[in-house]
Symmetry: C2
Subunit: 351 residues, 2 copies
């Protein structure tokens, strides 16, 4: 066993260039409990960026990779053709056991395909899921956390009942381990609370989930339960999750634009908004994705934290912290146990 946790960091994936990623790694390396960080990418660029920053050299090493996948490239083809791309090299470091988890700010499609190629899918998982957190009215867990986790948000557009059940188990494990919420409430996003409401996959998933003792299943959720935070884990297909997530982001932007317009329109509004500033600042803080840094790709035997494409150094530092926490808390083993227990229960029920 390696003495400490090691994170493979795809240094070339960010839209802001390798500097932002290197900055995040440098900052992370200075923390007393810093993991080992393998910075994967063009050694000349990385060395130059790193040389300018205060960092702990015993914690950061550079692993060369000479190709980069751009957001404009068709991901499947890019992953096939560019075996030397930073994301592929970084994923292999994890697959081969040199590192424990992967962090990348690269394009979601390419990152997921690199994981699919290098890692193994966990037994019981047909399709991977991308989780995302969003702020809600309710607070939960040890840290009075305002976030709910929603998954999938774009990898598995049309989810079968089995996919939804696997998402519920993976999301529940994530909320337990990362958000320190001992008994996370899991809900299925639907169009009515009754068990027969929703698409066929949802109705079937409901029947399975209500029988699983591992899951604190609260039944079906409706759209209004999303901002309320009725559940800690919202389970849905990748299509719906993606629409919901971008809608939430869009409303935040729209409200900010309207507030700016109101403030410019009248002195009275300007003063009103100024008085509300502390509340608005707090609201911004909890809706700030840089704070939580990245979102998990779940379903593989190794964990990947996908950071935002426009990640700053701070976002990358936080993504590294989430990846480290996931490894320390044995997230993947916890997911695997949940999936195995479900399979046993399902088999017992069908016998």
């Amino acid at each position: 066993m390696r003495p400490s946790i090691a994170i493979a960091l795809d240094a070339m994936g960010s839209d802001l260039g390798p500097e932002a990623v290197v900055e995040g790694a440098a900052e992370a390396s200075l923390r007393p409990d810093a993991p080992q960080i393998a910075l994967v990418g063009d050694p000349r660029q990385l060395q130059k960026a790193l040389g300018r920053l205060s960092h702990d050299a015993s914690k950061v090493r550079i692993v060369p990779a000479f190709e980069v996948i751009a957001p404009s490239e068709e991901p499947r083809r890019a992953i096939e053709e560019k075996k030397g791309a930073s994301i592929c090299v970084a994923a292999r470091l994890v697959a081969e056991g040199e590192c424990d988890a992967l962090v990348s700010a690269g394009p979601t499609g390419a990152v997921t395909l690199a994981c699919a190629q290098a890692f193994r899918r966990l037994p019981g998982v047909r399709r991977a899921a991308l989780g995302a957190v969003y702020p809600t009215e309710r607070r939960r867990g040890e840290k009075a956390d305002p976030f709910s986790l929603i998954l999938d948000v774009g990898l598995t557009l049309e989810a079968s009942a089995e996919d939804l059940v696997a998402f519920a188990i993976m999301g529940s494990a994530y909320a337990r381990r990362i958000s320190k919420n001992q008994r996370p409430k899991v809900g299925l996003l639907s169009i009515g609370s009754e068990p027969h409401k929703g698409t066929q996959s949802i109705v079937q998933a409901y029947r399975i989930l209500e029988k699983l003792p591992e899951i604190e299943f609260v039944g079906n959720l409706e759209g209004m339960d999303i901002p309320r935070g009725t559940a800690d884990v919202v389970v849905t297909s990748g299509f719906v999750g993606n629409v919901v997530l971008k809608l939430l982001e869009g409303i935040g932007e729209t409200v900010m634009r309207l507030a700016r317009a109101a403030s410019e329109a009248s002195l009275q509004y300007q003063l009103g908004l100024w008085l509300l500033r502390p509340a608005i600042r707090r609201l911004r803080q909890i809706t700030d994705w840089e704070e939580y840094g990245g979102v998990p790709i779940l379903g593989f035997d190794k964990l990947c934290i996908k950071a935002h494409g426009r990640s700053t150094g701070r976002a990358i530092r936080n993504a590294i912290r989430v990846a480290q926490k996931a490894v320390q808390s044995d997230l993947v083993a916890s997911i695997q146990n949940g999936l195995e227990a479900t399979t046993r229960i399902q088999e017992a029920n069908t016998k």
Copy 2:
């Protein structure tokens, strides 16, 4: 031909009881261009309620119906068993040509089934759609209307490509006729702007829609385009539309609750919110569903305006106005023409 437009009003459907519906009818009857209104329901209750209100007796008549379908009843069974229910009697009045359009605040499932039973589906429509309007940042049309129309919001949970195309045509006709928007922009809700993004139905619908000259197709929308108002008509499956609509409602409620809590927490916030009051009032006004009264059930040879279950008199009056406008502007014929043109183009393309 009847001298004026006649609206069949299911007087027993509202959660607030027949009084609210009668109030709406009485108010509507006093307008100079009032349509004929057939109030359908328990004659004793309706007579009593009507007698207390100022109304134009030449415009309102009572049509007896002695059964009522409650929101708790399983709609399919209720519609089968209660042929004498107010919604069924009202739908038959329209089907038989005695009235031109139907207005009901009854449970959506029962109202739709009553329509399906009494009316004929238009050629080219496989499944009906329920439209809903919501306020956006952008304004459009002759009336600088802040509303976008989204459909389907719950009737056709899983929509095929053909369903989505029919929704686009019906929504476009509705926006042209009711919102007086000459060239409404129609978008497909998806997870990326590229034509290959989304589920298979969406990708196929995209290919058909971009070839239709009748439709101002703006391509795929993403979640953030919903509050922005990028499109005037947002086309999606009933499942996604329902989640989106309830999410939007839920965010409004959550924001109001947070504002109230902030106001109670500190005098400073209270003053800030007080200064912003005119803006908040305006925001409330445009998000007020009572203002637009009802949403259309589209796809049948007769129009139904479904009013909210908790409709007040004002909401009912507005729903009657929308129904009247739809008849005056020949909405159904416009939809039918759009569908026929599409069928011709599709046939020409496949030849």
